[in-house]
Symmetry: C2
Subunit: 401 residues, 2 copies
């Protein structure tokens, strides 16, 4: 898992490419993807296809011949729609000039990492963390520095002492993902202020991934219907860049549509980096994004309700007494440790074989994560109930040997 690729030396490939980690999630996925009857909860996507009011908008655009090159920063209608959406959600006006459409959250991250770090630079990433942060940094030539979070009975917490001690002259940025994939950890305003203080003090960029910001279940952590955001505590001059995606809220994982929110002074740089990355996002895909924002609130509410119910169902994994799992306050993942000392990969493979359930090995998310598994509960209740039933039935034998 997570091994870099071993190549014939004759191929003579750059270390940034050769060291790019193979996803440990994909490994297990490839192992079990064709197993009949398997309930797939390993990938970070729900089971609902994109609603038809969104796919229809894209189909209309295709039929209308919107098949040419377009604006590198995104079509004006979508940039405007996103700015309006952010204003409604966060309560303050957003300049559309801050919005840069990308072909997904991952391309947004790749561009941001290219801007903030390269060879010889360190970037701090509280862990467990989505492995793609590490992958994007490695391919940019930078060194991701995992800073382990603390785990207690009530959940995960950021360790600010450890974070500050990890800062060196080579440190260029901090990645903060709240609510977190995989742990569901959700930052308070005080957490965000402390990270901001650290970034200001050491001249660091903050890369803010708040893409699960509407999936919040713990009322004490909610600000209305969303989580605390850096935008609540930052000043305009702060070096904070936001990553966003249409994937999760609007069930558009396969569309590859997201955005960067950044200071307008970076506009030309971002435009250039889009040019040399994807050369823009298809107009017909962007029309889907406009439709999602304009007509999607009911669907998003439905998705959040479903995830809330899914979280309750998945909580029953604790009934066995064989897992350690504080209830996640946000996002839509359960991240739990199986007692008994088996590795994540062993358990994941055995759950494919013995329970026909696909989970992601926690070890893919950096330490402390060995022995953990990640389960995505953005799925219909029947599947989740059956999955929990099967896992709970299989775990005693897996823990025993």
């Amino acid at each position: 898992m997570n091994a870099s690729v071993s190549l014939p030396s004759v191929l003579n490939i750059r270390p940034e490419a050769e060291r790019a980690p193979t996803s440990g999630i994909v490994d297990v996925f490839n192992y079990g993807r064709n197993k009949p009857g398997l309930i797939p909860l390993w990938v970070g996507e729900g089971d609902l296809p994109t609603p038809s009011f969104i796919t229809d908008a894209a189909a209309r655009s295709l039929a209308a011949g919107e098949t040419f090159y377009t604006y590198q920063r995104g079509i004006p209608e979508l940039r405007q729609a996103i700015a309006g959406y952010l204003e409604r959600l966060y309560g303050n006006p957003v300049d559309p000039e801050r919005i840069f459409v990308t072909s997904g959250g991952m391309p947004a991250m790749q561009i941001v990492m290219r801007m903030v770090a390269g060879n010889g630079d360190d970037v701090l990433v509280p862990t467990p963390a989505w492995p793609n942060f590490m992958g994007a940094l490695v391919t940019a030539g930078a060194q991701p520095v995992g800073v382990p979070m603390n785990i207690g009975e009530t959940g995960w917490t950021l360790d600010f002492d450890r974070l500050e001690k990890a800062v060196t002259p080579k440190t260029r940025a901090i990645v903060l993902n709240s609510p977190s994939n995989p742990t569901g950890w959700t930052a308070t305003h005080d957490d965000l202020r402390q990270v901001l203080h650290l970034a200001r003090k050491h001249g660091l960029w903050i890369v803010a991934d708040e893409i699960y910001g509407r999936f919040i279940y713990e009322p004490s952590l909610a600000v209305g219907a969303r989580t605390p955001s850096f935008r609540d505590v930052m000043e305009p001059a702060d070096r904070v860049i936001f990553l966003q995606t249409f994937s999760k809220n609007w069930a558009m994982t396969g569309w590859r549509l997201g955005w960067i929110e950044a200071p307008p002074a970076l506009g030309q740089v971002i435009e250039n980096l889009v040019q040399y990355q994807t050369s823009g996002t298809p107009v017909f895909v962007q029309r889907g994004g406009v439709a999602a924002i304009e007509g999607g609130e009911e669907f998003v509410a439905h998705q959040i309700d479903r995830a809330r119910r899914g979280r309750e169902i998945v909580g029953r994994l604790r009934d066995t007494g064989l897992v350690e799992m504080p209830m996640p306050p946000g996002a839509f993942y359960a991240f739990f440790k199986v007692k008994g000392g088996k590795t994540s990969a062993e358990i994941a493979v055995r759950l494919v074989d013995e329970a026909a359930v696909g989970l992601a090995p926690g070890s893919a998310f950096s330490q402390p994560s060995e022995g953990y598994l990640r389960l995505c509960y953005a799925r219909k209740p029947e599947d989740l109930e059956e999955a929990v039933h099967r896992i709970n039935a299989a775990l005693p034998a897996i823990v025993a040997g």
Copy 2:
């Protein structure tokens, strides 16, 4: 033109990002994009929207709910279709495991440049050249080294002495684009063998961009209905990677669909780099690609016929005696020098103002290119006739002062 961005130092952005060149084409495009009645010949795309048999395939896929994450290497049906297409075009079987679907030709190039070069490395690029080669190299941290081609009365030629003299211990690869954007230069088999010899001798990768390989007008350079290809002269062990795109043949510029053809030993590395770049290409876009290959031959033939006719019309620019323009043997660009010593940018702006025609400034394509302009003739004859008429009428005043 081509200036890097000047940013407040407080932003503290990596040099690979800050030095990424702003496209000189985009500069003029932004200057003239809203001028009424302008005939736009600056961008490398035709005037036909994607045919409906392709857009319909994508719309059906969307309606069928193919909106989830997918294979990082591309859906098997498309990889198979591409391999079959290459076999029909080039006459030899192609293993689908050599094919890696990307979100356009540019993402293909970005991944390839990431593999072959980074900080401290040089890559040779015969010039004039498409500026995105340079951009992809700069953002990878590498140094593009332009190697000027020679221009004579009969056209452009590669200077092999100059190419070999440009090789240093830091050189890692040669980019070869044939037929060339912008010059239309088309390599003979002997040219390709000489480049291959050089690459073998110095242990270099060849990045082969043969995307205009079906747009060939000079019979003495054609191999059947396509241009000579590295695949005609290489051995399986040679380090040659091909970039390809659906954009040009099938009028799919806005779709962002292309592929890499590479040794299967690089498969896992490419899969990982796709993961950290776009995380895959939408399935519904890939379904459009399958339809394009399966049903597109008549349309491609129509596109080529149109370009052939366009080339003849554009040849009349020479009637003024104010331009130097050897007829391009391939691709679909006229690349011509305007006499009188004005810069490319000056002429391009004046042609917007005085002729309402949009051309790309040649200087965007690296030297020798100052004073040149690039015109894309993949367009309906009526527009091209009118454009040539207007340019020929405007040129005397522009040349005079």
